[in-house]
Symmetry: C2
Subunit: 246 residues, 2 copies
DNA sequence: CGGGTGTTTGACAGAAGTCAAGTGCAGTGG
DNA sequence: CCACTGCACTTGACTTCTGTCAAACACCCG
């Protein structure tokens, strides 16, 4: 497996036919990427771009899945709560990702912002109407799901078969890959999540995550610049380590 | 999380309008469940029911994803190979499940039969044609994907946040749930996989799996009857244990 | 009946979790 | 402007769980 593919389950796909969306911002993302200008215009009447703040909850596990959320800006966290109070982070999401789409009637996870940002909500009926009216968006939703599934499976491999340091290496590489997809430099990016949240993603204690970062820092594979900025001087070596050759 | 929902990532959905499929057998499964009699008739011209034997490979990771496979009968294993030779089992599949659907051009995992069985293959062009001709199958594919995604996330919770014995408890409960969906008694089912394969699913060594089974047997929560038959005398207690109350 | 595969069990080593203390940093308020 | 306070992070010591290695056993298939 290529650790660059691991990522935190993000379903990021760029618009194939870039077009401006007045309400949602300049980039066309998520399912809407399949829409032409006319379709976008129709949809944009019904969705609103709204600012959200760090730590704000977007939806909760078990709540009725009344709408899907497109993340226009910022970073979010998807997680589930265990009965004993601990949480499993399912993945982090970035601008361009969609969240909250489910087959069932309820959300399958919590979603919470890690940073300030902007979202667009589309209600379930609006989504259904769009799928009906623009069949191309159906195929797109299938692709988004299939891709997200593949990425979740990748994470399963990471959590199931890698040691602590390898998991953290794979994790930072996934952030790099997510940055690349957003069109920003992959070797220098933001990492707004805490050690505890990373641990809950990777199935590790926060102290173990901290020790792994220290080890990677000492090897010169990861550099933390302050302000949650991270630099990866040697991504190839990091990938080798993640795959067990380190 | 409900441990009964954990399962091995199976996307099992019964036909809402049961109808006979001459080529594939008596039950209508997978995407085809959305088809009416006329559609089934049309499709059935192009797919063939073929017997497969235990340990036979259905497709391999990295091969061109030329067809999807509907498992009519028997049990299969989906897995990925790590660079160091170890494998991560992504899930087990049962009669009624579909395998090999992917957004990319290649299969994302290996698929191998654990038992003798029967499959139907549908080529990619056939699938595309069906999706085009019968839009209802598109919605069905979305649902199958979304459901499979949710189940894979469940497994992530299991592997990431549970101890060995809890994982094994969650695993046998998932087999029970899969049996229930197939319409067979949930407290008595086949378990054709080896301890090593269970370990590769749960991120455990085979010895650890064996010890966990011994412990569950001693507690009277699991009974192995020979011939790969397993009985669960107290599923509620098992669920409590899986959730950490044990 | 025999051989191979899968399973169980034990002893030990090693990785990660837990508990605890101390450090650093950022935002707040005087 | 600076001290204070709270949170996140780091580091150490110790414990516990799981992995590894090894041997014996059980079971199924030929």
């Amino acid at each position: 497996m290529n650790p660059l593919d691991f990522v935190s389950g993000a379903a990021v796909v760029r618009a194939s036919t870039p077009a401006a969306c007045e309400r949602c911002g300049s980039r066309v993302v998520g399912v809407c990427a399949a829409l032409d200008i006319a379709g976008l215009d129709e949809i944009s009447h019904e969705t609103r771009r709204t600012p959200v703040k760090a730590r704000e909850s977007l939806f909760r596990e078990g709540d009725p899945a009344s709408s899907i959320v497109m993340l226009m800006n910022g970073t979010a966290k998807l997680s589930r709560l265990m009965p004993d109070g601990r949480q499993q982070v399912l993945g982090f999401r970035f601008s361009g990702d969609i969240m909250g789409f489910t087959q069932g009637r309820m959300y399958a996870s919590d979603a919470e912002m890690l940073t300030d940002g902007n979202i667009c909500r589309m209600t379930r009926p609006q989504l259904e109407a769009m799928l009906e009216r623009f069949p191309a968006t159906q195929r797109r939703l299938i692709d988004l799901c299939a891709q997200e599934l593949a990425l979740t499976q990748d994470q399963l491999v990471t959590v199931g078969r890698r040691h602590a340091e390898q998991r953290v290496a794979a994790f930072v590489l996934s952030l790099a890959e997510a940055a690349r997809r957003r069109g920003t430099p992959p070797s220098l990016f933001d990492m707004p999540m805490t050690r505890a949240e990373i641990g809950d993603l990777l199935g590790l204690a926060l102290e173990t995550v901290s020790r792994a970062f220290t080890a990677l820092r000492k090897r010169g594979l990861v550099r933390e610049l302050g302000g949650h900025k991270v630099e990866l001087p040697d991504m190839a070596a990091l990938a080798a380590l993640a795959d067990g050759d380190g």
